[in-house]
């Protein structure tokens, strides 16, 4: 959920990102992690061995839990990477490996 910002702090301009094919609204300057969380998405990936859901944990690039696939590039840390208009994000990473 986005906090109502006061008039003296303005978000960047509105952008569109695509999360697992769905259109999600975000704002320039936001990290992928913040944009996903603001849209109610908490699970960012599944683990490879057990298929457990994972999301933001440390929030500062240390724990590598928030890994998503961005425009086909895997293992991108959502907490460090800013959104870009038209970005395609895949949060199903690890799931296929678990299924097979």
């Amino acid at each position: 959920m986005r906090v109502h910002l006061s008039s003296d702090l303005k978000r960047g301009k509105k952008v569109q990102i695509f999360v697992d094919g769905e259109t999600v609204e975000a704002f320039a300057g936001e990290t992928i992690a913040a944009a996903l969380l603001a849209s109610g998405i908490k699970r960012f990936r599944y683990t490879r061995k057990k298929g457990d859901p994972r999301g933001i944990f440390c929030g500062m690039g240390v724990c590598f839990e928030c890994l998503v696939t961005v425009n086909g590039e895997s293992n991108v840390r959502a907490c460090l990477t800013p959104v870009v208009d038209g970005m395609k994000i895949d949060t199903k990473s690890g799931w296929l490996a678990h299924e097979s």
């Binding site: 986005r2 936001e30 969380l37 908490k42 960012f44």
Partner: protein
Amino acid sequence: MNRKELVVIGAGPAGIEAALTASELGVEVLLVDSFPTAGGQYYKQPPQAFEDHRKKNASQKEGKLLLQMLDSSNVQLLTGCLVWGLFEDHDKGSWVVQLALPDRPMQVKADAVIIATGAYDRPFAFPGWTLPGVMTAGAGQILVKTQGVVPGSKVLLTGTGPLQIALADQLIHAGVTPVAMLEASTISLWDLLRHVPVFLGQFNRMVEGLGYGFDILRSGMQVRMGWAVVEARGDGSVEEAVIARLGPDWKVIAGSEEKVQVDTVILGYGLVPNNRLSRMVECEHEYVAVKGGWVPIRDETLQTTCPNVYVVGDAAGVGGAELAHVEGKIAGLAVASRCGRGKQSDFQWRYAKLRPELLRQRRYAKALGELFTPQPGALSLFRENMTVCRCEEVSYRDILDAIQLGARSVNEVKMITRAGMGNCQGRMCEGLIAQILLNALSVENVDMQRIGASTVRPPLEPMTLDMLARASQMIETEENQLT
């Protein structure tokens, strides 16, 4: 090869002070940071795409001023730049810093290195701690403060010490009053009284703390002392938390459990020094629980047992931004003096002026450490099938089995189970594994020094093979140019 008299790693309060101090005395300084902008976690600014015209509080003003001074200084700043290796050079006593920039590798030879890599949130484990919706206070703070996003609508804070109080205040101001804040430590009146002289010396911090206390009282948020979240449950993400009363050693008091409906659990169990680089070069470290864990042994100029390698700020023991500022200045002075800049008498005089502040901040850090350090009884929260190593998905049972097989150190547990070999390289689990070992081997009378920490090797963080290959090519080319 690029050559600098000083490379400072980490552009938070400690690193910036160190770089500025040395640079003002004429030292050639390169300051690197892995984040896109300088400031570290403490002076983190909202994204550049945001328009920020807010009134700044004292620490934000201080941060802005420091960053402006950095801008107008002679310090060369490289951001978005990962230090993946630090090696002693052929001529001993100088160092080669291996860097990965977003688009290319780079190496710099340095006469001295100051490590100022800060700290990260201490991982605290219980069944369900890997569920989405469980996150650290640092993560919560970044989301609220710099991104303007609240992590959930029903937030439960659990932890120990002042970090979560600050976060509670930020959440209240953001319009999402947490359901409750649980402080795991039980602090007696005597505990508080014996630290009064130290706290009185921290006027600004006390005023800040009173402000938080007032906001919290007014918000009606529930506060419980001696309580903690002992389990998080939910299908896919947190839906419910189990809280329980803890004894003085943090053992769960059976029968005290209560269920709370929440969607977010935030862990504020203090910080762990991030000193992987000083561990990688194998200077001597010691385990000091009240400083957050393993810390480098340093002389009074803050130099480690490796010549010309200094560690300052939280990376050398959690002590907060004020201590980081002073330590940065001291190490910056020491390097300048080493490089023959300024008179030795000037150095002595400036050092003597900084020393009272250094001791004052260290006393405060120690008092906080004594009041708010997790206690060994917290292991009573663990369940056999609970994940301990989040990256390699190693359970508590797996680790106990390894100990049964004869593992007696963090490294041996790592070799048997793979715990600590994943993406985070043990940053999340090694402290937990050490506690498990300490507890399981209590009859053998082992201590942390024996249990140790996992060996740190380059690359410090996962990097692409492409970047590693290009680095190796660059190193070879530059070696050939030398001969």
